[in-house]
Protein backbone atom coordinates (compact mmCIF):
# COMPACT_ATOMS: atom_id res chain seq x y z
CA UNK A 1 0.00 0.00 0.00
CA UNK A 2 1.26 3.48 -0.90
CA UNK A 3 0.10 6.43 1.20
CA UNK A 4 -0.30 10.10 0.44
CA UNK A 5 -0.62 11.71 3.83
CA UNK A 6 0.14 14.96 5.66
CA UNK A 7 2.54 13.07 7.94
CA UNK A 8 4.61 11.76 5.00
CA UNK A 9 6.22 14.94 3.68
CA UNK A 10 8.60 15.39 0.76
CA UNK A 11 12.35 15.65 1.41
CA UNK A 12 12.63 19.41 1.81
CA UNK A 13 16.07 19.80 0.25
CA UNK A 14 15.19 17.83 -2.90
CA UNK A 15 13.18 19.08 -5.87
CA UNK A 16 9.83 17.47 -6.71
CA UNK A 17 11.54 15.56 -9.53
CA UNK A 18 14.32 14.27 -7.23
CA UNK A 19 11.81 13.20 -4.60
CA UNK A 20 10.05 11.04 -7.20
CA UNK A 21 13.15 9.87 -9.09
CA UNK A 22 14.69 8.71 -5.82
CA UNK A 23 12.42 5.65 -5.80
CA UNK A 24 13.51 4.02 -9.12
CA UNK A 25 17.07 5.21 -8.51
CA UNK A 26 17.31 3.62 -5.07
CA UNK A 27 14.96 0.65 -5.29
CA UNK A 28 15.30 -0.49 -8.88
CA UNK A 29 18.89 0.66 -9.42
CA UNK A 30 18.06 2.59 -12.58
CA UNK A 31 20.48 5.23 -13.78
CA UNK A 32 19.89 8.85 -12.75
CA UNK A 33 18.85 9.72 -16.32
CA UNK A 34 16.29 6.90 -16.54
CA UNK A 35 14.92 7.64 -13.05
CA UNK A 36 14.52 11.31 -13.94
CA UNK A 37 12.81 10.37 -17.21
CA UNK A 38 10.28 8.18 -15.38
CA UNK A 39 9.61 10.91 -12.82
CA UNK A 40 9.19 13.57 -15.53
CA UNK A 41 6.81 11.31 -17.43
CA UNK A 42 4.67 10.73 -14.35
CA UNK A 43 4.48 14.45 -13.57
CA UNK A 44 3.51 15.13 -17.18
CA UNK A 45 0.76 12.47 -16.96
CA UNK A 46 -0.59 14.22 -13.88
CA UNK A 47 -0.54 17.50 -15.83
CA UNK A 48 2.07 19.19 -13.63
CA UNK A 49 5.41 18.82 -15.45
CA UNK A 50 6.16 22.43 -14.47
CA UNK A 51 6.65 21.59 -10.77
CA UNK A 52 9.67 19.33 -11.44
CA UNK A 53 12.36 21.82 -10.29
CA UNK A 54 10.42 23.16 -7.29
CA UNK A 55 11.33 22.29 -3.73
CA UNK A 56 8.72 21.70 -1.03
CA UNK A 57 8.57 25.24 0.41
CA UNK A 58 8.20 26.75 -3.09
CA UNK A 59 5.13 24.67 -4.02
CA UNK A 60 1.46 25.47 -3.51
CA UNK A 61 -0.52 22.89 -1.49
CA UNK A 62 -1.96 21.43 -4.72
CA UNK A 63 1.50 21.16 -6.33
CA UNK A 64 2.87 19.55 -3.16
CA UNK A 65 0.01 17.06 -3.24
CA UNK A 66 0.80 16.21 -6.88
CA UNK A 67 4.47 15.61 -6.00
CA UNK A 68 3.47 13.35 -3.09
CA UNK A 69 0.96 11.54 -5.28
CA UNK A 70 3.57 10.96 -8.01
CA UNK A 71 5.99 9.63 -5.39
CA UNK A 72 3.32 7.23 -4.16
CA UNK A 73 2.37 6.15 -7.70
CA UNK A 74 5.95 5.45 -8.74
CA UNK A 75 6.19 2.94 -5.87
CA UNK A 76 3.96 0.74 -8.04
CA UNK A 77 1.92 -0.66 -5.15
CA UNK A 78 -1.58 -2.04 -5.88
CA UNK A 79 -3.40 0.16 -3.33
CA UNK A 80 -3.13 3.91 -2.99
CA UNK A 81 -4.46 5.46 0.19
CA UNK A 82 -5.04 9.20 0.33
CA UNK A 83 -5.17 10.09 3.98
CA UNK A 84 -7.02 13.27 5.05
CA UNK A 85 -6.80 15.08 1.69
CA UNK A 86 -8.40 18.17 3.22
CA UNK A 87 -5.28 18.69 5.34
CA UNK A 88 -3.12 18.74 2.19
CA UNK A 89 -5.42 20.33 -0.39
CA UNK A 90 -6.82 23.30 1.41
CA UNK A 91 -6.48 25.61 -1.62
CA UNK A 92 -8.63 23.61 -4.12
CA UNK A 93 -12.03 21.87 -4.07
CA UNK A 94 -10.32 18.59 -3.44
CA UNK A 95 -12.87 15.84 -4.14
CA UNK A 96 -13.12 17.15 -7.72
CA UNK A 97 -9.39 17.64 -7.98
CA UNK A 98 -8.63 14.04 -6.92
CA UNK A 99 -11.44 12.62 -9.10
CA UNK A 100 -9.96 14.31 -12.19
CA UNK A 101 -6.49 12.94 -11.40
CA UNK A 102 -7.79 9.42 -10.81
CA UNK A 103 -9.89 9.49 -13.99
CA UNK A 104 -6.81 9.61 -16.22
CA UNK A 105 -6.24 6.52 -18.36
CA UNK A 106 -2.72 5.81 -17.09
CA UNK A 107 -3.82 5.61 -13.47
CA UNK A 108 -4.10 1.97 -12.44
CA UNK A 109 -4.82 0.32 -9.09
CA UNK A 110 -7.29 1.15 -6.35
CA UNK A 111 -7.42 4.62 -4.88
CA UNK A 112 -8.92 4.92 -1.41
CA UNK A 113 -9.65 8.15 0.37
CA UNK A 114 -9.83 8.40 4.16
CA UNK A 115 -11.35 11.65 5.34
CA UNK A 116 -13.27 13.04 8.29
CA UNK A 117 -16.95 12.13 8.24
CA UNK A 118 -18.03 15.78 8.36
CA UNK A 119 -16.47 16.26 4.90
CA UNK A 120 -18.90 13.72 3.36
CA UNK A 121 -21.00 16.55 1.93
CA UNK A 122 -18.04 17.69 -0.22
CA UNK A 123 -17.82 14.23 -1.84
CA UNK A 124 -21.58 14.06 -2.41
CA UNK A 125 -21.38 17.44 -4.09
CA UNK A 126 -18.53 16.27 -6.34
CA UNK A 127 -20.29 13.04 -7.31
CA UNK A 128 -23.74 14.59 -7.82
CA UNK A 129 -23.17 18.22 -8.83
CA UNK A 130 -26.85 18.81 -9.81
Amino acid sequence: MARVAPDLPLRANLSALDNIALIPLYQRHYSAAESNRQAEQLLAQLGHADIAPLRDPDMTPAQRFIAKLARALILGRPRLVIDRPGAMLYDVPYPDFIRQLAAQQEMAGTWEIYDFSWNQALYNQALHPE
Partner: protein, 264 residues
Protein backbone atom coordinates in the same frame (compact mmCIF):
# COMPACT_ATOMS: atom_id res chain seq x y z
CA UNK B 1 19.66 15.02 53.66
CA UNK B 2 17.10 15.76 50.95
CA UNK B 3 19.61 18.00 49.22
CA UNK B 4 22.21 15.20 49.24
CA UNK B 5 19.72 12.67 47.86
CA UNK B 6 18.63 15.11 45.16
CA UNK B 7 22.27 15.78 44.19
CA UNK B 8 23.08 12.07 43.98
CA UNK B 9 19.91 11.48 41.98
CA UNK B 10 20.75 14.31 39.57
CA UNK B 11 24.35 13.09 39.18
CA UNK B 12 23.12 9.54 38.58
CA UNK B 13 20.64 10.75 35.95
CA UNK B 14 23.43 12.67 34.20
CA UNK B 15 25.81 9.69 34.21
CA UNK B 16 23.04 7.39 32.96
CA UNK B 17 22.27 9.98 30.25
CA UNK B 18 25.92 10.06 29.13
CA UNK B 19 26.06 6.27 28.98
CA UNK B 20 22.81 6.17 27.05
CA UNK B 21 24.10 8.77 24.54
CA UNK B 22 27.44 6.92 24.22
CA UNK B 23 25.69 3.59 23.75
CA UNK B 24 23.35 5.13 21.14
CA UNK B 25 26.32 6.48 19.20
CA UNK B 26 28.26 3.23 19.24
CA UNK B 27 25.15 1.22 18.32
CA UNK B 28 24.56 3.59 15.40
CA UNK B 29 28.22 3.27 14.35
CA UNK B 30 28.03 -0.53 14.56
CA UNK B 31 24.88 -0.54 12.41
CA UNK B 32 26.52 1.79 9.88
CA UNK B 33 29.63 -0.41 9.85
CA UNK B 34 27.63 -3.58 9.21
CA UNK B 35 25.68 -1.88 6.40
CA UNK B 36 28.96 -0.84 4.78
CA UNK B 37 29.62 -4.51 4.12
CA UNK B 38 26.23 -5.13 2.49
CA UNK B 39 26.16 -5.13 -1.28
CA UNK B 40 22.70 -3.51 -1.41
CA UNK B 41 24.11 -0.39 0.28
CA UNK B 42 26.37 0.37 -2.65
CA UNK B 43 23.98 1.63 -5.27
CA UNK B 44 23.94 4.70 -7.48
CA UNK B 45 21.76 6.80 -5.13
CA UNK B 46 24.04 6.26 -2.11
CA UNK B 47 27.15 6.91 -4.20
CA UNK B 48 25.63 10.17 -5.50
CA UNK B 49 24.97 11.36 -1.94
CA UNK B 50 28.57 10.50 -0.93
CA UNK B 51 29.90 12.55 -3.87
CA UNK B 52 27.54 15.42 -3.00
CA UNK B 53 28.63 15.28 0.64
CA UNK B 54 32.34 15.36 -0.25
CA UNK B 55 31.65 18.28 -2.60
CA UNK B 56 29.79 20.32 0.02
CA UNK B 57 32.19 19.45 2.86
CA UNK B 58 35.57 19.64 1.14
CA UNK B 59 35.53 20.91 -2.44
CA UNK B 60 33.22 23.90 -1.99
CA UNK B 61 35.37 25.38 0.79
CA UNK B 62 38.77 24.34 -0.55
CA UNK B 63 40.03 27.84 -1.41
CA UNK B 64 38.90 29.31 1.92
CA UNK B 65 40.36 26.38 3.82
CA UNK B 66 43.72 26.51 2.03
CA UNK B 67 43.91 30.26 2.63
CA UNK B 68 43.22 29.69 6.32
CA UNK B 69 45.79 26.87 6.50
CA UNK B 70 48.33 29.06 4.73
CA UNK B 71 47.96 31.94 7.20
CA UNK B 72 48.00 29.68 10.29
CA UNK B 73 50.99 27.70 8.99
CA UNK B 74 52.93 30.86 8.13
CA UNK B 75 52.34 32.34 11.59
CA UNK B 76 53.26 29.17 13.49
CA UNK B 77 56.35 28.56 11.34
CA UNK B 78 57.48 32.16 11.91
CA UNK B 79 57.02 31.79 15.68
CA UNK B 80 58.88 28.45 15.76
CA UNK B 81 61.73 29.76 13.60
CA UNK B 82 62.21 32.95 15.57
CA UNK B 83 62.12 31.06 18.91
CA UNK B 84 64.53 28.42 17.58
CA UNK B 85 66.92 31.17 16.43
CA UNK B 86 66.72 32.92 19.82
CA UNK B 87 67.69 29.71 21.61
CA UNK B 88 70.24 28.62 18.99
CA UNK B 89 68.20 25.55 18.03
CA UNK B 90 67.75 26.28 14.33
CA UNK B 91 68.63 22.71 13.34
CA UNK B 92 65.52 21.46 15.16
CA UNK B 93 63.21 24.01 13.53
CA UNK B 94 62.09 21.81 10.63
CA UNK B 95 61.34 18.83 12.93
CA UNK B 96 59.49 21.07 15.36
CA UNK B 97 57.48 22.60 12.50
CA UNK B 98 56.44 19.21 11.16
CA UNK B 99 55.56 17.79 14.56
CA UNK B 100 53.56 20.80 15.75
CA UNK B 101 51.84 21.71 12.50
CA UNK B 102 51.46 18.63 10.34
CA UNK B 103 50.92 16.03 13.06
CA UNK B 104 48.92 17.99 15.61
CA UNK B 105 47.65 21.47 14.91
CA UNK B 106 46.43 21.24 11.30
CA UNK B 107 44.40 18.00 11.67
CA UNK B 108 42.86 19.46 14.85
CA UNK B 109 41.99 22.77 13.18
CA UNK B 110 40.66 20.93 10.10
CA UNK B 111 38.31 18.93 12.31
CA UNK B 112 37.13 22.12 14.06
CA UNK B 113 36.63 23.84 10.70
CA UNK B 114 34.56 20.97 9.30
CA UNK B 115 32.64 20.61 12.58
CA UNK B 116 31.64 24.28 12.60
CA UNK B 117 30.73 24.36 8.93
CA UNK B 118 29.35 20.92 8.06
CA UNK B 119 28.76 19.30 11.47
CA UNK B 120 26.37 22.03 12.56
CA UNK B 121 24.58 21.89 9.17
CA UNK B 122 24.24 18.09 9.39
CA UNK B 123 22.91 18.33 12.96
CA UNK B 124 20.32 20.93 11.95
CA UNK B 125 19.26 19.06 8.83
CA UNK B 126 18.84 15.72 10.59
CA UNK B 127 16.96 17.38 13.46
CA UNK B 128 14.59 19.07 10.99
CA UNK B 129 14.14 15.80 9.09
CA UNK B 130 13.27 14.13 12.37
CA UNK B 131 10.84 16.86 13.44
CA UNK B 132 9.15 17.05 10.01
CA UNK B 133 8.72 13.25 9.69
CA UNK B 134 10.85 13.19 6.53
CA UNK B 135 12.69 10.09 7.78
CA UNK B 136 9.40 8.23 8.23
CA UNK B 137 8.37 9.29 4.71
CA UNK B 138 11.63 7.89 3.28
CA UNK B 139 11.16 4.65 5.21
CA UNK B 140 7.57 4.42 3.85
CA UNK B 141 9.01 4.66 0.33
CA UNK B 142 11.44 1.83 1.18
CA UNK B 143 14.40 4.19 0.93
CA UNK B 144 16.23 3.38 4.19
CA UNK B 145 17.42 6.66 5.76
CA UNK B 146 20.54 4.97 7.15
CA UNK B 147 21.86 4.00 3.70
CA UNK B 148 20.54 7.02 1.85
CA UNK B 149 21.00 9.87 4.32
CA UNK B 150 23.37 8.96 7.14
CA UNK B 151 26.00 6.54 5.88
CA UNK B 152 27.00 8.82 2.97
CA UNK B 153 27.45 11.66 5.44
CA UNK B 154 29.75 9.56 7.62
CA UNK B 155 31.81 8.42 4.62
CA UNK B 156 31.88 11.95 3.17
CA UNK B 157 33.00 13.38 6.53
CA UNK B 158 35.87 10.92 6.90
CA UNK B 159 37.05 11.42 3.30
CA UNK B 160 36.80 15.21 3.65
CA UNK B 161 38.72 15.52 6.93
CA UNK B 162 41.47 13.10 5.80
CA UNK B 163 41.85 14.89 2.44
CA UNK B 164 41.75 18.45 3.80
CA UNK B 165 44.17 17.63 6.65
CA UNK B 166 46.54 16.01 4.12
CA UNK B 167 46.38 19.03 1.82
CA UNK B 168 46.95 21.42 4.72
CA UNK B 169 49.88 19.24 5.87
CA UNK B 170 51.47 19.31 2.41
CA UNK B 171 51.01 23.07 2.27
CA UNK B 172 52.64 23.44 5.71
CA UNK B 173 55.60 21.27 4.61
CA UNK B 174 56.10 23.50 1.58
CA UNK B 175 55.80 26.65 3.68
CA UNK B 176 58.19 25.21 6.27
CA UNK B 177 60.78 24.44 3.61
CA UNK B 178 60.51 27.92 2.07
CA UNK B 179 60.69 29.63 5.48
CA UNK B 180 63.75 27.64 6.62
CA UNK B 181 65.75 27.21 3.41
CA UNK B 182 64.29 29.83 1.06
CA UNK B 183 63.75 29.45 -2.69
CA UNK B 184 66.62 27.03 -3.39
CA UNK B 185 67.20 23.29 -3.42
CA UNK B 186 70.11 23.34 -0.96
CA UNK B 187 67.99 22.19 1.96
CA UNK B 188 66.09 19.51 0.05
CA UNK B 189 68.20 16.57 1.31
CA UNK B 190 68.18 17.43 5.04
CA UNK B 191 64.50 18.43 4.90
CA UNK B 192 63.39 15.19 3.26
CA UNK B 193 65.57 13.23 5.70
CA UNK B 194 63.78 14.91 8.60
CA UNK B 195 60.41 14.08 7.02
CA UNK B 196 61.45 10.44 6.52
CA UNK B 197 62.68 10.26 10.14
CA UNK B 198 59.39 11.55 11.55
CA UNK B 199 56.91 9.84 9.23
CA UNK B 200 57.54 6.19 10.01
CA UNK B 201 54.73 3.67 9.54
CA UNK B 202 53.46 4.01 13.11
CA UNK B 203 53.18 7.80 12.91
CA UNK B 204 51.52 7.68 9.48
CA UNK B 205 48.99 5.06 10.61
CA UNK B 206 48.32 7.06 13.79
CA UNK B 207 47.82 10.28 11.81
CA UNK B 208 45.46 8.59 9.37
CA UNK B 209 43.49 6.96 12.20
CA UNK B 210 43.27 10.27 14.07
CA UNK B 211 41.99 12.13 10.98
CA UNK B 212 39.48 9.35 10.27
CA UNK B 213 38.24 9.53 13.87
CA UNK B 214 37.96 13.31 13.59
CA UNK B 215 35.94 12.81 10.40
CA UNK B 216 33.66 10.35 12.16
CA UNK B 217 33.25 12.62 15.19
CA UNK B 218 32.19 15.64 13.11
CA UNK B 219 29.49 13.65 11.30
CA UNK B 220 28.42 10.77 13.55
CA UNK B 221 27.78 12.93 16.62
CA UNK B 222 25.67 15.56 14.77
CA UNK B 223 23.64 12.79 13.07
CA UNK B 224 22.89 10.98 16.35
CA UNK B 225 22.18 14.28 18.14
CA UNK B 226 19.76 15.20 15.35
CA UNK B 227 18.01 11.84 15.64
CA UNK B 228 17.53 12.34 19.39
CA UNK B 229 15.53 15.53 18.77
CA UNK B 230 11.96 15.32 20.10
CA UNK B 231 9.35 16.09 17.43
CA UNK B 232 9.06 19.73 18.40
CA UNK B 233 10.44 22.51 16.21
CA UNK B 234 11.66 24.60 19.15
CA UNK B 235 13.95 21.69 20.20
CA UNK B 236 16.07 21.98 17.01
CA UNK B 237 18.41 24.70 18.38
CA UNK B 238 18.80 22.70 21.61
CA UNK B 239 19.70 19.61 19.58
CA UNK B 240 22.34 21.56 17.59
CA UNK B 241 23.76 23.06 20.78
CA UNK B 242 24.07 19.63 22.41
CA UNK B 243 25.48 18.04 19.28
CA UNK B 244 28.13 20.70 18.78
CA UNK B 245 29.23 20.56 22.42
CA UNK B 246 29.64 16.80 22.09
CA UNK B 247 31.60 17.24 18.86
CA UNK B 248 33.93 19.71 20.57
CA UNK B 249 34.56 17.37 23.51
CA UNK B 250 35.07 14.40 21.17
CA UNK B 251 37.61 16.29 19.04
CA UNK B 252 39.54 17.41 22.14
CA UNK B 253 39.40 13.85 23.58
CA UNK B 254 40.74 12.34 20.35
CA UNK B 255 43.58 14.89 20.26
CA UNK B 256 44.46 14.35 23.94
CA UNK B 257 44.48 10.55 23.57
CA UNK B 258 46.58 10.81 20.41
CA UNK B 259 49.13 13.09 22.17
CA UNK B 260 49.22 10.82 25.21
CA UNK B 261 49.82 7.74 23.06
CA UNK B 262 52.64 9.49 21.20
CA UNK B 263 54.48 11.36 23.93
CA UNK B 264 53.57 9.95 27.36
Amino acid sequence: MNFLAASIESLGAKVAGWFSVGYGMFAFLAQAGSLLLERATWNRATFDVVVKQVYFTAVQILHVFLGYALVISWLIISIILSTARDFGLTEFASEMTIRVLVLELLPFLTALFIALRSGSAINTEVALMQVNNELDALAHCKVPPMQFEFLPRLIGGVISVVTLASLAGLLALLMGYLAIYGMNTAGFAPFTQTIAKIFDFKIMAGLLAKCALFGLAVTLIPVTAGLETPKKLFMVPVSVLRGMMRVFFAIVAIEVVSLALKYV
